[in-house]
Amino acid sequence: MSSLDHSQTRQQRERATTIFEKGAPGRRAFRAPDLDVPRVDALIPEGSRRAEGPRLPEASEPEIVRHYVNLSKRNFDLDSGFYPLGSCTMKHNPRLHERAAALPGHSRLHPLQDPRRAQGALELMFNLQESLAELAGLPHVSMQPSAGSHGELAGVLLTRAYYADRGEQRTKVLTPDSAHGTNPATVTMAGYEVVKVALDADGGVDVGDLRAKADESVACLMLTNPSTLGIFDPNIEEIAQIVHGVGATLYYDGANLNAVMGYTRPGDMGFDIVHFNLHKTFTQPHGGGGPGAGPIAVSDRIEPYLPRPQVVRRPPAVNGGPRTPPTFDLDHDRPKSIGKLRGFHGNYGVFVRTYAYIRSLGAEGLKEVSEVSVLNANYLLARLRETCGDRLPLAFGERCMHEFVLSGAPLKKELGIRTLDLAKRLLDHGFHPPTVYFPLVVEEALLVEPTETETRETLDEFADAIAAIIAEAEEDPEIAKNAPYTTPVRRLDEAGAAKRPRVREILPD
């Protein structure tokens, strides 16, 4: 009789218990400051006073620390291993950025501080706007959106405001089949109808289909370029011509900007509006699902509608008395603005990190980012095509930009192994799997984005792991089908979770 079940790891053996199940009534970490003013009763009207407080955890500080430290160990993270999640640009997160963002002058600054006393923050935002404008090839920037999808929403609402101002009635927005889900979802939220544009045989926009669908009812085409297939659309100039030809705007989903810095810019390609994902291209840590930031850059014709307030630099005052506006200021006086998309000025803490990143890399470093991200992707692709090109072929073309899409269709057909199984088996090998089942246009898709911060050795190891898994599956497909084995939990019942949702802990009274 062993005192332990050795077939399981300790994490597997232990039942997951939440912080609400830990501790005991009366335990605490917080200690309140003493009440230093005379106590007055009944300051809250009876009906508004809470009778029984919320049942928050009752635990000591050491218990809380251990709980969350141990929970953290049930996560895979970028600092520990390769994370080639396509479309997500999981590049190294420099700790310099965390240090800089934590400086009290940044982290303890109130958003409503008088701009005169927030000149550092406003200067930072202004400079960052300028840098992003240069990278976008578009002159005006709003820092307000909090993520890519928020930037998209801003962009489509800007388009709407633009047409409203011109008195034009447009009802449709075009998106290609390869678009990220946020694109069509945004269109709906902004009150437009989604019209899908087909792809051509090379994975680019089907120019014929586009031409057929582009008419005066179209407000906008939303495009990612390189697309989510990792392909730079060779017809981008023609596409822009067609869209502009019917008076519509061109929206650039900047999620894939990592591929092209120093080579081309959305503005150069003819886009009117672009969002950046600062949590992708500019390495804001993802935090397990945010925070991010999705600033937008726009052309002159869209500028009047940008969200409020804008950070501006004022010309130096002639007679700089106390009532002179400060050098860097917030401009609320924007009569045509679409208004606000959120509180205050956006995710400033993210801007500090982005600023640090751009200052660290500079012009050359940013170009090197794109070069190496594309080189890494092509090298990994070459390695994979060499060892398992028949089982896991490239979906389109011969090469790629910063990411590429493989199709698991042959693997599924020939060995009964789905892309999901391959992904799960990769977990046992210590790798985070690529993005799976996206883009939708590729059967059993596997979208691989290594990023520029990975070493050649890591790419080789990953390629070897894929090859080993396929070789294993040739002999015994069941292994992959039941993977993973070594993770804190094994395959989870997602259908069951959705059927009878349990979305919070049940607590004793």
Binding site: R15, F30, A32, G289, G365
Partner: protein, 464 residues
């Protein structure tokens, strides 16, 4: 080698060879000549870490932070103490650097944190269902109105003028998109005018939106509004400061259908306005039309308890144009900060901190209102924040009073005239657990002097 890359000349040669191209340039062949940048990026060269850090420090020092003055500035974000364990846990690689938990087997940490967070938000708000965060408080209000629209397809929402101006403005912006008419309900003596609301209610009202405490710090009678709304089948959306919910009734217990809000007060930094997080809670029946990620409990192949992102068929990556929202990346790390903070604060602490703010707010209000030239904006009960009227001659004079206080090392609060024309002489003062009686007394001293000086200057001007 720049940009945290690692490829040596050897690496590059081997890799190009494996790919079968001559140079990296060749890999960019697919970009047509007509759209090429054709010149270097016009940005300064990169700098070593020490230089970049020095520059970020220089910028930081040009800001006057809450560390540099005694601040009573609130109006949506508050100078609460963030315990050290929050920083420590938020900066652990394992929480800081993963993506959204798409692979639950290696993301149980993040998923369980979401589940715990949802539990805490549910407890606070008195509603059974919470998502795992949205961007912030104002965008949560906008998202809630959209959800109301999806739920009942009605044409307009009524929003109290006591709701944070940024929330109202965000609502306006978004409502233009999804086609909802926004009607504002005014304030009467510091709180939302119930009669005016009743008059505006009709069967085409999708939702009624309140804030608790409202922007002026006043406690709203949520139940009466909820009862009124319910009569017309409108949903009740309540924005709330979660840190007051140890002492204020949970809106979910008072008839609210959706409770949302800004999470900054829960262990998040000021950060000049973000990132923090918005929370979003609802009654059971709305679970399938909520925006955002939701973590759910389930079991694994061996029967172990585990957590997954659930009800994903609501979401953009599955449902695309039919999704209940476009949100993707939200504020997971900040929500982690929130639940760690709430665990630290604990079941008793949430009541104690609420009570402390309540008492000190009362003390501050009475102390300040007894100063010559200062009176209360209204007499309603308040918590954590309150309005004053400065008898100094209007909005510009209030700004000058604030400047005088700043010179004395005190940030006296928010000039209400910045957002409310009708309160041009108003000052909004926030009191957190960080502001001691000594701080409040110092504010009284500085503000008294500033108001007196301003009044003296004004009468001197009149005399001249």
């Amino acid at each position: 080698m720049a940009g945290y890359t690692a490829l040596t000349a050897d690496d590059r040669a081997i890799m190009l060879d494996a790919i079968g191209v001559e140079s990296i340039e060749d890999l960019f062949d697919g970009i047509p000549a007509g759209v090429r940048l054709g010149r270097p990026i016009d940005l300064p060269p990169g700098e070593p870490e020490q230089a970049v850090y020095a520059e970020l420090r220089r910028l930081a020092e040009r800001n006057v932070s809450a560390d540099d003055e005694i601040t009573f500035l609130g109006a949506g974000m508050y100078d609460h103490y963030v315990p050290a364990i929050v920083d420590m846990l938020m900066s652990r690689s394992e929480f800081l650097t993963p993506y959204t938990p798409y692979q639950p087997e290696v993301s149980q940490g993040g998923l369980q944190v979401m589940f715990e967070y949802q539990t805490a938000i549910s407890e606070l708000t008195g509603l059974p269902v919470s998502n795992a965060s949205v961007y912030d408080g104002p965008s949560a209000v906008g998202a809630a109105a959209y959800m109301a629209k999806l739920a009942n397809r009605r044409a307009k929402v009524l929003v109290s003028r006591g709701v944070h101006p940024h929330s109202r403005e965000t609502l306006d912006t978004l409502a233009v998109g999804y086609g909802t008419e926004v009607v504002e309900i005014g304030l009467d003596d510091g709180v939302t005018d119930l009669e005016s609301l009743q008059a505006s209610l009709s069967d085409d009202v999708s939702a009624v939106i309140l804030q608790q405490p409202n922007f002026l710090g006043a406690i709203e009678d949520v139940r009466s509004f909820a009862d009124a709304a319910r009569e017309h089948g409108a949903l009740v959306i309540c924005a709330v400061d979660p840190l007051t919910l140890g002492v204020l009734a949970a809106p979910g217990h008072q008839g609210a259908d959706l409770v949302v809000g800004e999470g900054q007060s829960l262990g998040n930094r000021l950060d000049f306005g973000g990132p923090s997080f918005g929370f979003f809670a609802a009654t059971e029946k709305h679970i399938r039309s909520m925006p955002g990620r939701i973590a759910g409990e389930t079991t694994d192949a061996d029967g172990r308890r585990g957590f997954v992102l659930t009800l994903q068929t609501r979401e953009q990556h599955i449902r695309r144009e039919k999704a209940t929202s476009n949100i993707c990346t939200s504020q997971a790390l900040n929500a982690l900060g929130g639940v760690v903070y709430l665990s630290w604060l604990g079941r008793r602490g949430i009541v104690e901190i609420g009570e402390l703010m309540l008492q000190r707010t009362h003390y501050a209000r009475e102390t300040l209102a007894s100063i010559e030239g200062i009176e209360k904006l209204h007499d309603r009960p308040v918590v954590r924040e309150f309005g004053l009227r400065l008898d100094v001659g209007g909005a510009d004079a209030v700004t000058r009073v604030l400047e005088r206080c700043a010179v004395g090392g005190v940030n006296a609060g928010f000039a209400l005239g910045r957002e409310y024309d009708e309160y041009g002489d108003g000052l909004l003062v926030a009191i957190t657990e960080q502001r001691s009686r000594e701080d409040i007394d110092r504010l009284a001293e500085v503000l008294e002097a500033a108001v007196a000086a301003e009044r003296a200057a004004a009468s001197a001007e009149v005399a001249a």
